[in-house]
Symmetry: C2
Subunit: 194 residues, 2 copies
């Protein structure tokens, strides 16, 4: 999808006072492209009741997590990348609304949300490829409203780890919804006590 | 795949002194059938270096976890179900070897291991359907070598949660391998500190 690039760029070659390590953009893109498939494989055919069972009172279900990921595609990753490229540190990112999906219509089936996530993620990756990022762009700095100075490389690296964070969470939430079915094996299953 | 059954059987209807809740076998089968796809989506195209990076010294990589799941199909789930059905509590299960995959050839590519897992899981589900389990069979008891008395229902419920436990682990191990790329976002990503 993205053009081939060397495995890792040492930004130190670009500027003497810059010592950040930059991500490998190809590797980033591969995993980002696979997350919708992984979630689809896991969730599409499960009973609605299972997918919508929250981890606990006031906590998220797999359905909520999917909404959170969709909202990130629309308002977080690519929009923030553009802010860094256009404004650098001069303009802080909009704060990300972690509860947005709770205000969406809840009667949209999980299958439709999976399709939606696949579509917005595809659009994000098309936009990412269109940015034609090289080492100089990846090393650019932006302002996070709470965390302070970050680089574009860190934003894109976080995108990948954020996917994995929520994949692990989906597996955990689904596991806990079946936690009363394992009997004495519970002690061998750390996912049930996280 | 498996024949339709009512959502949940209350084993109390079968025997007055039996109060265990039995799993829904259809639901169990759906998720078990999807795990190979979910792992395939996540791992097949990732660089070998990423998939083989262990979580830490002496800990497992995603590749090791995949081997562990394959070994479970061969020696744990269906073999133990058969022991319960044939011998009840009279014969304890063989202890499960959690380190078996560490002694396998390590030059088998991850893609081949993914194919292998899909094949052995398919065979397990065919065998499971062939057992034609009803509530009376699901309530049967067996002997775990360390945990003591368990039911067939608990064994099969554990199979599902065990899949989810290791899916969460795969996501976590992959995330940690990229943990140095997120900069100050680390504090928002609990998967990196588990």
């Amino acid at each position: 999808m993205a053009p081939r690039r060397p495995a890792r760029h040492d930004a130190g070659r670009l500027s003497e006072d810059l010592t950040v390590t930059l991500i490998d953009l190809d590797r980033t893109t591969i995993l980002l492209g696979r997350t919708p498939l992984a979630l689809d494989a896991l969730l599409r055919d499960l009973p609605d009741e299972w997918v919508r069972t929250p981890e606990g009172p006031g906590r998220w279900s797999a359905y909520d997590i999917l909404g959170h990921l969709i909202h990130g595609e629309r308002t977080d990753w690519i929009p923030r990348a553009r802010i860094i490229l256009e404004h650098g540190e001069a303009r802080a990112f909009e704060p990300f609304d972690r509860e947005a999906q709770g205000r969406w219509p809840q009667d949209v089936p999980v299958a439709a949300r999976l399709d939606e996530f696949a579509a917005v993620r595809r659009a994000s990756l098309t936009a990412l490829a269109g940015l034609r990022l090289g080492p100089a762009q990846l090393a650019r700095r932006g302002q996070h409203p709470a965390l302070g100075t970050v680089t574009l490389s860190e934003l894109l690296g976080t995108w990948v780890v954020h996917d994995l964070n929520h994949l692990a969470q989906v597996a955990r939430v689904l596991a806990k919804a079946r936690g009363d079915e394992v009997g004495p094996w519970r002690e061998y299953l750390p996912v049930l006590s996280r």
